[in-house]
Amino acid sequence: MTDPIIQISSVHKSFGPVKALKGVSMKVHPGTVHALIGENGAGKSTLMKILSGALKADKGKIEVNGEVYTPESPLDGRKAGISMIYQELNLAPHLSIEKNVTLGMEKNSWGWVHSQGTQVEAILSELGQGELSADLLIRDLSIGKQQVVEIARALLFDAQVVVMDEPTSSLSAADTRTLFQVINRLKKKGVAVIYISHFLEEIQEIADHYTILRDGETVASGSMEDIPIEEIIFHMVGREVSELYPTSKHTLGEVILRGEDIQGAAGYPNEVDLELRKGEILGIAGLVGSGRSETVRMLFGLDKAQKGTLQLKSGSKRSIQYQNPQKAIGEGINLLSENRKEEGLALNLSLLHNLTLPVLKNYQKRGILDLKSEHQQGQMWLDELRVKAHNAHQRADSLSGGNQQKVCIARLLHADSEILILDEPTRGIDIGSKSEIYRLILRLAGNGKAIIMVSSYLPELFGICDSLSIMHKGYMSPKRPISEWTEVEVMHYATSGEQRT
């Protein structure tokens, strides 16, 4: 085996009294994909920030190409050939691919920029994306292609190590495939890729080596071939997740919601019918952009429908165009947004104020809020969902992703909604929190709530849903009990819109 390009030895880092890293070691070889695995808060991000030069280690040593590496800034990291690609892409949407790729490194004479279009296109075709023209604007590209542009930027300054933080969390299955092809080309070029992801199946497919962090320490590392997924999970959580998807018996009751002929702008969704029973967990699968989110957002009134009808348990059939969130919440429908940070939470407000926002009027007495009972109730829900927080007055942005998601779910429960629409409820959260959320969803169904769960992650749909529909280009497949679907059939419908018999 070649010499490692990066060798991290017992790195420590504390933030005040909190020890984020307590002796992390890791070796990365050129031309390989190295998975960095761990629950949220295990120290992955801190380690990568130290590697990129954004943070300084308290103790320990990092060597790059056998030389001691002590970056003072991210610029030093870049000069040493280490390039970061964050979950939230750093691109200027109004500028072209070329301008983005060369941003900050434009070749120029006396300030006059030379075109580097051909060079940029060469890099793109090296990544297998030869059809992309350097003149295209970033905002016209899919998120998957935007990611390729970020990678191209890394290659323009001869990155030897590319760190990808949750690169596939917002990608469709097709874009993920493209990304994997790009990663394989990077490997062939001798570039080392450090790959951070919560999707263990993906890691198993793409990575050659792994390092698992738990509570700021390296707990395991080795070759990916030798380790089954159960063992990875065991190392991550330090305990066996005996039942990631617990089974629970719950009975389906009467139909509580019926939507017919729901039609959105530009055919997303297109003539969608759906039906939900009390106690049912209905999964909606499909690629990103297939109209899944639009459909459920129309049920809640956040997106405007063109036509269609909606019928709730007690009520009569009515037109869906006039649905709005106030009305929906009043009727016992509530929605968990897929964009926790952009839409789900008011990040600079307290947990409590986020939690009680939809049902504030319950605490109103003669126009004045009863802050004490609000606090009691809010605290009760935070405890109930085991949100890890100091107190209810803490700002929402001080929590980890998994705990933020629990606050969002607590909000739905506090509003006491009968119909819960969960749009990607486990996106970007660690496996421990995921498992808690699955249990919670099942318990809610057991208590007679009706749940619609939109997800891009098939194993979880198969793990907890009673029935499943799939969307493809705005159309929705008929609903079938989960036992009548296979993962292959679901992927087939999601990608082609055809049902195999």
Binding site: E342, E343, L345, L347, L349, L360, Q364, H390
Partner: protein
Amino acid sequence: MTNKVVPAEKSHSRIVKALSGLGPLLGLIFVFVLFGVLSPSAFASFYNIKTILTQSVIVGIAALGMTFVIISEGIDLSVGSMIALGTVVIAMILNLGEPTTALIVLAALGGILACGIMGWLNGFLIAQFKIVPFIVTLGTMQIARGIAKWIAREQTISAPITPLNDLMLVDPTPAWLVFAPGIWIGLLLLGVSILLLVRTVFGRHVYAIGSNEQTARLCGVKVNKRKIQIYTLCGILTGIAALMQYANLTVGDPTAAVGLELDIIAAVVIGGASLSGGEGSATGSLIGALIMAVLRNGCNMLGVPNYVQEIIIGSIIVGAVLVDQLKHRVKK
């Protein structure tokens, strides 16, 4: 996992929180002590304190209204022009007939109503047509000023002497009031604003819209309706500030309060509100207004030329925002 807390940590974070909330107040104490030391006899006299308080009333009351707007991640540049419009409307109504109590009350309400309507217009344009508040109020700033000049025929409008002129007297006529009636009205409005912001659904919605409008929508807040209410409320409070301005001027002046919107916005920002929304308090904004009044007054006492005052106040605005930024960085 429980959410048991290490007591030391909790009290620590409480102290930090309390101190960061006290920032504007500490600033006020600092400038006050500073001028007290530099110019002891004249500055710290009771009469001068009463003067400073009176001088801060107009900006202070308007800043209360602006607080709602800025917390909701908006801005209102039209308030200076609204104040001018308000004084003109008051003077014109007073000229309608014998200055009976009814007419005086009508004049005061008329001025407030005129500003309220302008505020409603701002809110309507912002909410209904999704135009950014900066542009809408940049436009209505010109429109309100234009209307004021138009109905006043580009002249100041003199009006009969009425009790309205006494609202801002440093030594009020019933001596037992001690402070000018305007100060008492300002304090009352402060109480109302605090109550609205902290203890009502409306206040919560103001913060929620400013912190994240999408979240507010997701949680069923009627965002458009609330925005119209917020700008209307700002207009009404500005109208009360216009009444105080009229009391100072004793005439309706369509060219009054030019650029005053900037002082009002500055007071809110110095008081700890964030222009990116979701943060701010009524008390803070009033303290911001006081800091500026103390600075102006103190500088005048010391004979510091006007241009130096402007430089100092400008530096304080930038400094206040800088401190706020640093505070946030420390938190992260």
